[in-house]
């Protein structure tokens, strides 16, 4: 009897886990040259990624607003955020012209670098919030979700980049795909010095950057789909 029950539980777990990717189609998406796979268009990929980044930005916005209640800005500070974000060293376009002027490959790299830069801090943040009992429960849930989404988004953007490279839209000079670990800034521990609210403030901004860059990239590569 217990064997049957465990087998049933495994079956249920597999079913639920299998349905997590939220892919509607029955056939799997062609990823590695499989047979009988469904080809997803680039525009569709972009839409998915953009949707994902929008949701990520929403969660970060909520968390930041929530932390604003607990953090009382000190009048002594000239400006609330005196410290730079750890990703400020990354050269990111700060305007529309800049974003349109740089190459697609650079833009893709920037996106990937940003996503990579936030992988560890968010995980760390989740660990902190999970252990802090004075915070609301849903904060730790959101932190976890945020961390997961960053990870998934990075995977998705990598897929998009690969697709673009396959389609010849971008060259193969995206270095982020080859050696992602080299993209990490040297002062990788700088983010540990940030306080929670500063971390959230910086992440909120960066998630907006990611979303915006993805939209620009999409309208540069596949402009006929909703641009």
């Amino acid at each position: 009897m217990p064997r049957n029950i465990t087998s049933v539980w495994v079956l249920l777990a597999s079913i639920t886990l299998g349905s997590r990717p939220a892919n509607v189609a029955a056939a799997p998406i062609c990823a590695n040259g499989q047979a009988r796979c469904r080809v997803v268009s680039l525009a569709n990929l972009f839409d998915r990624v953009i949707q994902h980044s929008a949701r990520m930005h929403g969660i970060s916005n909520d968390l930041h607003s929530e932390f604003e209640q607990y953090f009382v800005p000190s009048r002594n500070h000239i400006g609330r955020v005196s410290r730079n974000c750890h990703t400020s060293a990354l050269l990111t376009p700060n305007g529309k012209e800049n974003a349109q002027r740089i190459a697609r490959e650079e833009l893709t790299e920037v996106i990937l670098k940003l996503l990579l830069a936030w992988r560890d801090p968010l995980w760390h943040f989740h660990q902190i919030t999970a252990h802090q009992h004075d915070l609301a429960n849903f904060s730790s849930d959101k932190a976890l979700e945020m961390s997961d989404m960053v990870h998934e988004l990075r995977k998705g953007v990598e897929k998009v980049a690969q697709k673009m490279q396959t389609l010849g839209m971008i060259s193969n000079s995206v270095s982020a795909l080859s050696s992602p670990e080299d993209l990490l800034p040297s002062e990788s521990g700088e983010w540990r010095l940030m306080k929670d609210h500063e971390l959230l403030y910086c992440f909120r901004r960066d998630s907006d950057k990611i979303q915006n860059y993805l939209k620009i990239l999409k309208c540069r590569i596949v402009p006929e789909h909703g641009c």
Binding site: G79, N84, N94, R205, N212, K215, I216, R220, G226
Partner: protein, 536 residues
């Protein structure tokens, strides 16, 4: 020395400024900063008090990443008390620290610093080119609203993503109906209101930013063919109401006949004089008394007590003979019950009022005696004859022997006031009797063929005298003799005979007269009293 001079100068300045009310400027405040397209932005401030001196304002900002302080590049484009940052000076995702300084001769004042990130202060312009059109979908009209993003916002490159919202209302309403359109630039409205003018407005908002102002109102008039559906319903409702009314009317009309069939009405009593109300009350005595009170026996419509009475007229002989003749005619007409006797009217026999049973019974009871009633009887007769009916008197009339000879008339026992129609042609009539009197006259004997002995008899025995003589038809009274004699004319069956005078024999009774008949005339004889009537 110089320091003393400077200090003195400053003191003077302060003293003079205080004396005049001058002061350093008040603290300005930054009211808002806005970016219409996430490429440029403008900040506005509110100046404080100027302290009575000309004050200048300056805006200084510092970026997040550097410690450099820059001054506002453009104070004019945004209007008064504003600072405009063009594209070159605008960095997105960079924290600006902005401060405004007010400066006058006496000093300066700093405003509170404000942190601005352009991404979060985006407020676009309203959408443009809002167009409305009415389209049809399988016969059902709907409204299609289309618009364009604001000119400055660059949505084509994906730099800005705008979501739209529109609202619609009818001309007469106050409340708007809001619809969220998302990122699309087209919207269909199916919940169209009734015909009339409709107003539509659209606005937009970036991902995180502020809603724009509502666009200018676009108007469109809905066609009236929506009423076609309403009018169809109205027609259907009217037809149903008409059918319902017809059915109701038919039921109402048939209800009476149905009621008649099922519940026939009870016929009411038709007894004349029957009071239904009394019957309902249940008092039988009242009912019957009511019946009794009514006329019984039913008379003619012109039933009148007066009709039963005989009119009486005063008669004067002979001058009033004509009046009598006239009156006799009235009696004939009035005396309906006795028309049979007096139908051949212009004789002088007719039933008087005493013939009527119901009336004057008490007055007509007395017989009259001739011998002693000459003077008294006459007034009595006259009294009797007199019927007080409406004050009209009527000539006493006298019964003729023809009446007396008829036993069928039971009233001969009484004194009868018969109408006399005396046609007396008496050239030699010298009598001037005042009146007639009433009495019975009977034929006593027949002396000759043409001579009749009359005698009155008293009605005491109440019986007519047995006829001891042959009945003879007598004609008119020829003349009245001076000695109270009556000249009767016998009626001859054939032809006319010469009236022969017959002497009337005096009898013991004064009233008896013997007369001789003369040539008869047609008609009958009414005997008249021969006694002079007492005047009274």
């Amino acid at each position: 020395m110089r320091n003393v001079l400077e200090l003195t100068w400053l003191l003077l300045l302060v003293v003079t400024s205080h004396a005049k009310g001058l002061s350093p400027p008040g603290k300005p405040t930054l009211t808002s900063c806005r970016s219409p397209e996430k490429e440029t932005f403008t900040c506005w401030w509110q100046p404080g008090s100027d302290g009575g001196l000309p004050t200048t304002y300056a805006l200084y900002y510092g970026k997040e990443s550097s410690d450099f302080v820059y001054e506002c590049p453009d104070y004019f484009t945004g209007g008064e008390n504003s600072c405009f940052f063009n594209k070159n000076n605008t960095s997105i995702w960079v924290n600006y620290n902005i401060t405004v300084v007010a400066t006058n001769r006496l000093g300066s004042n700093f405003s509170d610093p404000v942190d601005v990130d352009v991404v979060y202060i985006v407020q676009p312009n309203p959408p443009e080119n809002v167009s409305l059109s009415i389209m049809e979908d399988k016969g059902w009209p709907f409204l299609r609203v289309t618009w364009a993003p604001p000119r400055k916002a660059d949505t084509r490159s994906g730099w800005i993503t705008l979501i739209y919202e529109l609202r619609i209302r009818s001309e007469g309403e106050n409340e708007w109906e809001t619809h969220v359109a998302g990122q699309q630039k087209l919207f269909n409205i199916f919940s169209l209101r009734s015909g009339g003018l409709n107003l539509v407005q659209v606005r937009c908002k970036p991902d995180h930013g502020f809603w724009s102002e509502w666009s200018s109102t676009s108007q469109i008039r809905f066609p009236d063919y929506f009423h076609r559906e309403k009018s169809a319903w109205i027609v259907i409702t009217a037809v149903c109401a008409l059918i319902f009314l017809i059915i109701t009317w038919l039921l109402h009309m048939n209800s009476r006949s149905l009621k008649h069939c099922l519940l026939p009405p009870v016929p009411g009593p038709k007894i004349k004089g029957f009071d239904q109300q009394l019957l309902k009350k249940g008092k039988s005595e009242d009912i019957f008394s009511a019946l009794a009170m009514s006329e019984f026996p039913p008379m003619s419509s012109s039933s009148n007590r007066d009709d039963l009475l005989v009119e009486y007229l005063e008669v004067h002989i002979p001058e009033e003979l004509e009046a009598m003749l006239e009156a006799s005619k009235d009696l004939d007409s009035a005396d309906g019950g006795f028309k049979s006797e007096s139908s051949t009217s212009d004789s002088d026999s007719g039933r008087g009022s005493c013939d009527s049973r119901t009336l004057l019974m008490e007055k007509c009871g007395r017989p009259k005696e001739h011998e002693d009633s000459t003077g008294e009887a006459e007034p009595e007769d006259w009294e009797v004859a007199r019927v007080d009916a409406g004050g009209r008197t009527w000539p006493s009339v006298f019964t003729g022997p023809s009446h007396l000879l008829r036993p069928s008339e039971g009233q001969v026992c009484k004194q009868i006031k018969a109408r006399s129609d005396v046609n007396i042609s008496a050239p030699g009539h010298k009598q001037s009797p005042a009146r007639w009197s009433v009495e019975y006259v009977g034929v006593q004997t027949v002396v000759e063929d043409d001579v009749v002995l009359l005698q009155p008899w008293s009605g005491r025995d109440g019986c007519p005298p047995p006829p001891t003589f042959h009945e003879r038809d007598y004609s008119q009274v020829k003349r009245v003799g001076s000695d109270d004699t009556l000249l009767l004319l016998q009626k001859l069956p054939a032809g006319t005979a010469d009236g022969r005078e017959g002497r009337s024999c005096d009898t013991s009774q004064k009233s008896a007269t013997c007369m001789h008949s003369t040539a008869p005339m047609s008609g009958y004889i009414d005997t008249a009293a021969v006694f002079p009537m007492a005047t009274y």
